[in-house]
């Protein structure tokens, strides 16, 4: 695939606007709260779209199309089950505590609710994780652009990192949020033509269903396995995900989804930047509306691509070294097949935008947690606000440089990165139990939370060490202690690891809390749901009222699950 001058012009226009936003915001960024929390001045719809996009990094976009090709429509479980309920819960029940407590970050909430050690544990692991995941996605993007357009790996990495650095350095979180909103529209307008053309080509929805049936049968599944979401989840072996309904609803839909959407500061930071408590509550729920529909933009292209493999003159996926199809190329293959010069530039711009704002999301979350939760809390408290603003800017540079280092580390030692991601998965898995107890059970104590988190992490590691997915070799995939259970797929194992970690953390936190002294009620006002006043101000428009919007969004998610059952 080669780009022409028109494609270049389109990419150039985008980069120009991105830099211009940073420049325009520079004078408006005067205090540390401007830099780290956008001065809590972002309207609900902007915070909502940013919330939705912050999760939509390039890896996610490319990965969702890949999963669409591999698992079919069941990939939408990651949206309709694995995102919407958690987003609505965050908006209705958790944002009042995050926003109302005036905490400036998720770790800081833990400090206010529990104690310093719980905050430190969360802040340190989170800061490290953001840098690593930003590096990994940078590495993936460098590889993709090299493969697709022949751009040198080093050039991609330094150029995109440099642009992200410029705009975050100048405008802080506001720059990040504005670019996420821009990215949202670029993804919509960049990928919609792909879906429209692909659907026309494959013969509309009936044509797609017929092609997918061929693919399913060939892989040894029932004919509708790739085009239904729940029908074949009675047994894990009958569906391409290799996970049964319990794993999907408990592991993905409850533990992993709530743990990610409700506690990951990268996301929550967007809602914390909202201009009022009611806007902060609306933001995740507004974000859930496009989230309902995005499977059509990011999963459908993958499904069309795999459907076309069974057509004369269709698509053929390159093979991986182990002989399996390289599903990761679903989105690039579709771009190359349908988009002529001009629209191709727009499609590539959409990919780059999602990559850059994914990285900016990590950097803005990193600099905030570093400055407020590590530097101010442990290295230098009581300095001037100006000082923390400068530290935030330095942390931005450091965060970008560390991400670049992580990208090169990923390129050199892929297995180290796999290992790190695994460890983080263990650390993250129990988190939601801590927040759930902390926010809704006032008896929970700091010691309980801390010990619960640690044992939850150990529980996750033990479960991983004792179980293994089918056909895997003991090691990074599990079973490194000895094997007591074999799962039908890696995903099934992951979901179970999460359930085990969460349950361990919950039980241990409750037990230790009951043995330690609770904090008096008056210290917990605004931090625990039952002790917090609920007199919410009226939202600007009646249709933005969360109590109206939430059931509508949940109802729509439910309906989609039924329609595509």
């Amino acid at each position: 695939m080669t780009l022409t001058i028109v494609d270049g012009l389109i990419i150039g226009l985008y980069l120009l606007v991105v830099i211009a936003i940073g420049v325009a915001l520079r004078q408006r960024t005067r205090t540390s709260e401007d830099f780290f929390l956008s001065g809590r001045s972002i309207p609900a719809w902007v915070a909502g779209l940013a919330f939705m996009s912050a999760n939509m990094g390039a890896q996610e976009v490319v990965g969702m199309a890949a999963s669409g090709a591999k698992y079919g429509l069941a990939t939408s479980h990651f949206y309709w089950v694995g995102a919407i309920p958690a987003m609505v819960f965050l908006g209705l029940f958790m944002m009042p505590l995050y926003y109302g407590s005036r905490a400036r970050s998720v770790p800081e909430y833990l400090k206010l609710r529990f104690d310093e050690k719980t905050r430190l544990l969360n802040a340190a692991t989170f800061a490290f994780m953001t840098v690593i995941s930003s590096g990994i996605s940078m590495y993936a993007m460098g590889l993709l652009l090299n493969l697709l357009l022949g751009w040198p790996f080093d050039l991609s990495i330094w150029l995109w990192a440099g642009i992200v650095l410029i705009y975050v350095f100048m405008g802080g979180l506001t720059s990040g949020i504005y670019n996420e909103v821009l990215q949202f529209f670029l993804i919509v307008f960049g990928f919609a033509p792909l879906v429209i053309l692909g659907l026309i080509d494959i013969g509309g929805w009936p044509g797609l269903m017929a092609s997918l049936a061929d693919v399913s049968l060939q892989r040894g599944y029932p004919a509708d396995a790739l085009s239904t979401v729940w029908r074949h989840t009675g047994s894990a072996a009958d569906n391409p995900l290799g996970v049964g309904w319990f794993g999907i609803s408990m592991g993905l839909g409850f533990v992993l989804s709530f743990g990610y959407w409700c506690t990951d500061f990268l996301l929550v930071q967007r809602a914390m930047a909202a201009d009022s408590l009611s806007a902060a509550r609306q933001a995740p729920i507004i974000a859930a509306i496009p989230k309902l529909l995005f499977p059509a933009l990011v999963i459908l292209p993958g499904m069309i691509a795999i459907g076309l493999t069974h057509r004369a003159g269709g698509i053929s996926f390159p093979l991986k070294p182990d002989g399996s199809l390289n599903y990761d190329l679903a989105m690039p293959l579709m771009l190359a097949r349908y988009l002529p010069t001009g629209l191709l530039g727009l499609g590539i711009t959409a990919l780059m935008a999602s990559f850059m704002s994914g990285m900016a999301g990590n950097v803005t979350a990193f600099n905030t947690v570093w400055t407020y939760d590590l530097y101010q809390a442990h290295i230098r408290p009581n300095a001037s606000d100006r000082h923390y603003l400068n530290i935030g800017r330095i942390a931005t540079v450091a965060g970008v440089l560390l991400s670049i280092a992580a990208a090169y580390l990923a390129a050199r030692f892929n297995n180290i990165m796999d290992l790190l991601q695994l460890v983080f998965a263990f650390v993250n898995a129990p988190l939601f139990a801590t927040f759930l107890l902390g926010m809704f059970w006032k008896r929970t104590t700091g010691h309980g939370a801390f010990v619960g988190l640690l044992t939850g992490t150990v529980g996750a590691a033990l479960h991983h060490g004792l179980t293994i997915p089918q056909h895997a070799i003991p090691g990074i995939k599990g079973g490194w202690l000895f094997i007591v259970h074999t799962y039908p797929s890696e995903m099934a194992q992951n979901f179970s690891t999460a359930i085990v970690a969460w349950t361990t953390c919950l039980l241990v936190t409750v037990a230790v809390s009951l043995m330690t002294r609770p904090r008096p009620d008056e210290q917990l006002r605004g931090l625990v749901y039952s002790l917090t006043e609920k007199g919410y101000e009226k939202p600007a428009s009646w249709y933005l009222n969360p109590t109206l919007l939430a059931p509508l969004v949940l109802g729509a998610a439910f309906a989609l699950n039924i329609v595509f059952w």
Binding site: I10, L13, Y14, A20, F185, P340, G342, L343, L346
Partner: protein, 65 residues
């Protein structure tokens, strides 16, 4: 935050729509074989232009108020 986000969105999409529209009008029709014979640059350029102008108008209306 002072800067209305609809302004940069409007500027970007108006410019992108304009570029695609013009290119769609002057480009060699043979490049549209891959897009099923549809001049998608022209068509989608119009969509982007309309969206971009709508965003610009929305940002202007608010700043006048």
């Amino acid at each position: 935050m002072g800067l209305d986000i609809r302004l940069p969105i409007g500027v970007l999409f108006t410019a992108l729509g304009f570029v695609l529209l013009v290119y769609g009008a002057i480009s060699d029709p043979s490049i549209y074989a891959r897009s099923l014979g549809i001049n998608v640059n022209l068509a989608w350029g119009c969509v982007l232009l309309v969206f971009g102008i709508a965003m610009l108008l929305a940002s202007r209306r608010r700043s006048v108020k």
